[in-house]
Symmetry: C2
Subunit: 189 residues, 2 copies
DNA sequence: TGCACAAACCTAAAGGCTTTAGGCAACCGA
DNA sequence: TCGGTTGCCTAAAGCCTTTAGGTTTGTGCA
């Protein structure tokens, strides 16, 4: 009965890896316990249950994405910053589909993952600094960008763009250019 | 042992109702069997399994949305058509959150739900007729609109817009106006 | 009318996931 | 080194999925 050294954090990180390997919705306390060579019930000393586990994985993903985004945005503005942020999300989703799926998990209010969400909002707001938008247009624009990123990546990952041309890789930069030009002329619309 | 009259179709429709009541991911063969007052195993004569059941519910939702969209688009063009299509999706999602969630279910290639997806693409293409876009811009625009609709509704339903002003109801029409103006000037971007 | 066959629904059972309760053992501080 | 806390274990109940095989119901044809 050697101790493995489980902690909520290690479970969440291992869960994130597992999600990338077998898909987020296949991640279960059982599968995770198996991976640690431990009985399922042992996990319940560290995590409140399956929902708690999934929420923690979501948080891992949201934090990782925000870290990458913050790094990518440093020293960039305008079109450059927009493309950088968009690229971070899309690349992350392609590298880590399970984690990305986790980041979409409905987490309940009061959870620390809500703060991670706020961080993403602020990063998007930072991108918009280059476009000089006043409220409420700025909030509208944040919501638009969030919608496009989430929406495009979700559809692409789901294969919706796989069987038509042009390739999804080609649409993406053109759509970002269009958004850039939209943001530059937002007030005139 | 009165026969209830199960069919794949009735199961799918009842599953759609159940999804709106308890949430799509809570829909199970068990819950559905309970609702029909029937043993679980009986369902397996009509659906291949849980995945098949969920796919059929997804199809019900996609078809219903496409029907509504087709009706809403009749006789409309340009900005009017854009708003009409967007409104159909958003209203449907708010009236039937479970069904809407079902419509996002990853259905496997070859399934008839793929055709339903194509129908939505064509409806979006119809909206774009009012904007005179050539390929590949037209496909880009279809993908952009799909992304915004899916993305915005998903975030809104998840509560991402609930705790900031302006209200989500106010951002939505302004975002649609911005998209309209983007589409009108797409080639110039 | 009556019979035969197909379909609809049933019971039984195996296997997996979640969660709770209670027990033993390993580690840490005194 | 000893006591307590914590980490992991066994046991067990409850729910979901899926398969196998039985029985009833209803329909169509003679």
């Amino acid at each position: 009965m050697a101790r493995v050294g489980l902690t909520p954090d290690r479970l969440a990180r291992a869960g994130a890896e597992l999600a990338d390997e077998i898909g987020f919705d296949q991640v279960s306390a059982s599968a995770l316990a198996r991976r640690f060579g431990v009985q399922v019930a042992s996990l319940y000393a560290h995590v409140r249950g399956a929902h708690d586990l999934r929420s923690r994985i979501a948080q891992v993903a949201l934090d990782e994405m925000a870290d990458r985004a913050a790094e990518a945005l440093a020293g960039r503005a305008g079109h450059d910053a927009l493309v950088a942020l968009a690229t971070v999300y899309r690349d992350y989703a392609r590298e880590h589909p399970g984690r990305y799926a986790a980041s979409q998990y409905r987490v309940d209010p009061g959870s620390p993952a809500v703060d991670a969400g706020r961080r993403h909002t602020e990063l998007t707001r930072a991108v918009l600094r280059g476009y000089n938008l006043d409220e409420p247009a700025q909030t509208d624009a944040i919501r638009l960008l969030g919608s496009v990123f989430n929406g495009y990546i979700g559809l692409e990952l789901g294969g919706s763009f796989a069987h038509s041309s042009p390739a999804s890789d080609e649409s993406w930069p053109r759509i970002l250019d269009a958004l850039d030009s939209l943001l530059r002329s937002w007030t005139k619309s």
